[in-house]
Amino acid sequence: MSKEILTREVLTNLSALQRFAFSLCQHKQEAEELVSETVVKAFENRTQLKSEEKIKQWLFRILNNLFISNYRKTKNRKAIDLPELSDQSFSLFEQVGMSSFTDGGTPEKSFISKITKERIYEAINELPEEFRTTIVLCDVNEFSYTEIAAITQVSIGTVRSRIARARNLLQKKLWQYAGELGITTKEKEKDHVCTCGKEEAKTVNTATV
């Protein structure tokens, strides 16, 4: 990998690397140091990378590995608070939909327009590390499941499950924010009501020979 190409790629991806570093460290100065170390390490090892296609993924993987070896041990990692099975059915859409909140549109769309970038940022940073980093890689930096699996060195199945849980937890955090905005449900509890008229899955034209 030439120095010129690597320089270009580092500068192109600098903001994304910083966001990822911050999602790992949760400390601005440490995140900046981690990015600097990543850049130094990438230049030291640039001959190892043959294909231009995977530079971005390679940079993120170096950053993740450096965090694990040099930074994570100094952190008091938050205990992983896995949502219970019943919690996974939480739906912000349903909660907001049951409120009387409106700002010209439907309660759901009105609420989305009220959420600020800062609030989303705060909510993501309150998630446990595994979920925080996965949602940043997927939804902010737009990596594919395969790329996230390579960067974080876990299986695609784990990535998939972390994304589902991260989004679910994020919705719960944002529902707390809704409470601060004075948005509350009108009814105490309401489950999603299937309106498609097909509560039970059924098969049509089953073809077996």
Binding site: L11, S144, K202, T203, T208
Partner: protein, 80 residues
């Protein structure tokens, strides 16, 4: 010999919601994708909920639009 069943099945709301993430991230293919699209065509609630989740995802993606010029300068010096 059994022929593999590839016909699109009806799925209920719970099954549809369980496929939202894969669909949103372009990981849903073939029959499972067709089944979800069929469900959307029949269930407005699920379609609305999916659109909401997609809007939320795009809101999260907006975090990508911030640049730190100071850091950029620092890195440029580092690799000069």
């Amino acid at each position: 010999m059994k022929k593999k069943n590839k016909e699109v099945q009806y799925i209920n709301c719970e099954q549809a919601v369980a496929r939202f993430n894969d669909f949103m991230d372009n990981y849903l293919k073939g029959k499972t994708r067709e089944e979800l699209l069929k469900h959307f065509s029949e269930c407005k609630d699920c379609m609305d909920r999916f659109e909401f989740e997609q809007l939320l995802k795009s809101k999260v993606h907006q975090l990508a639009s911030s640049d730190d010029d100071e850091m950029k300068e620092r890195i440029e010096k580092l690799i000069a």
